[in-house]
Subunit: 256 residues, 2 copies
């Protein structure tokens, strides 16, 4: 987190949906987007979840798009009355909505004549000047305007749309990650050597994640950074420091 | 969402952790907290996820605790150098941290002598004046200060601590929920009758959730409200309206 601001590319996720805040639905989009951005070297810096309410969406979107390089929203672009994301994005940008002709053309092919109901037509609405985000799964596309990408909430569709987001992002340097596993020792023992190594390498991010699983318990230490040589040196120093603290069951693992 | 503000009790969740924003860990705490609060009649109004960085945590916590009746945080209370939630909460309130004597007593029993390492002692730190949140699972307790509850990030421990949060909350009226399932028809067909019924019952919240599963596809319509009689009437009207739109495979289901 100490690299120069100039080469850091940041993003925020805005999750829109009463179903997440009621606990009815388990969100998985945040993790999928985080991983996708990580591969591109874009730092996901914040996420917010807001209800399907106009002023909440507008306020959160304006706060996030001012502060981060990119914002990705999920949810609220279906055909029903509670799907107000397009309206909220238009309001946030002070732009009118229009029925995008390319979406109308796609929909007319899929739903000829009366099957293109007013509800379905709602899904063609995009703020004036906005472009499309391809949907390779099913249904109409998402859209983008300025630094905001508006994706579906259904996870399989969201993941499909996400593939069309990357090409529009200015990628940062890719962050590399390596994992050191300490078996049979918890964070209380590991904290001191971990902190000592972290202090020597401020450009590296070192995180500690306890686990309790079928193999017993322990701690995974995840090291992230942009310089492969410094990352390798940090891994070696960390393993040595943990051993010096009297913990021998430690080594690097391949954590995908 | 149209009920009088006076009987609405609100909460926000603040998820603290680089591991969520990197996509390494799938958060499940938000859903668990949302469901727990729902049973108590407390509306979860917003959630934010921030990295393990002091100024980010402080800014988000201050924004949320000013705006909502309660804030529940998860994560960042372990023994390692990246666990800075206690420091951030203290800074947000402008209070000093101290080692809470009750936590030191518990820890001294669990980790006698040198086993109570400086790293572990970190977990006894609570802002001056803060109280404890019991931890029935393992490890030290969480804490509470004013309208903020500080819980662990490990889901099993978080769920245990959550049981000690409810007794301290002023419960709102409990929101009731009923679900109408439409089999074989998507939102495009259901949107018009749903909207018509929603307009007649502004005190009810009507949401529409498409599904694609082993039984095929369709849409679940979730009705929520505080008045059981109006809720029952709304369910009946919605089923009638969907049938009037030519969709017959519709009925109430028991959705836990």
């Amino acid at each position: 987190m100490t690299e120069a601001a100039s080469d850091r590319v940041t993003a925020a996720v805005l999750i829109i949906g009463d179903e997440i805040l009621s606990g009815r639905t388990q969100d998985t989009n945040l993790r999928d987007i985080a991983r996708y951005l990580g591969v591109l070297g874009v730092d996901l810096a914040e996420a917010r979840t807001v209800p399907d309410e106009m002023e909440e969406i507008v306020a959160a979107l304006n706060a996030l798009r001012d502060r981060y390089d990119y914002v990705i929203t999920t949810g609220g672009i279906g055909p029903t009355h509670d799907d107000i994301t397009a309206d909220a994005v238009a309001q946030a940008f002070g732009l009118p909505l229009h029925e995008h002709p390319d979406i109308i053309a796609m929909m007319s092919a899929q739903w000829p004549g009366d099957a293109l109901t007013p509800a379905r037509r709602r899904m063609s609405r995009v703020p004036q000047g906005g472009g499309l985000v391809k949907n390779p799964v099913q249904g109409p596309p998402g859209f983008k305007i300025d630094n905001v990408f508006v994706l579906a909430g259904v996870p399989s569709i969201m993941r499909g749309m996400l593939q069309d987001v990357g090409p529009h992002l200015r990628g940062g340097a890719v962050t590399l990650s390596r994992t050191v596993r300490v078996q049979g020792s918890g964070e209380g023992v590991i904290a001191a050597p971990l902190e000592a190594v972290a202090r020597l390498h401020p450009a590296m991010s070192l995180g500690s994640y306890p686990f309790y699983d079928a193999e017993g318990y322990g701690t995974n230490l995840v090291l992230r950074g942009r310089d492969p040589a410094e990352l390798a040196a940090t891994v070696a120093e960390l393993i040595a420091a943990v051993r010096a603290a009297g913990v021998n069951n430690v080594g690097e693992i391949d954590a995908a």
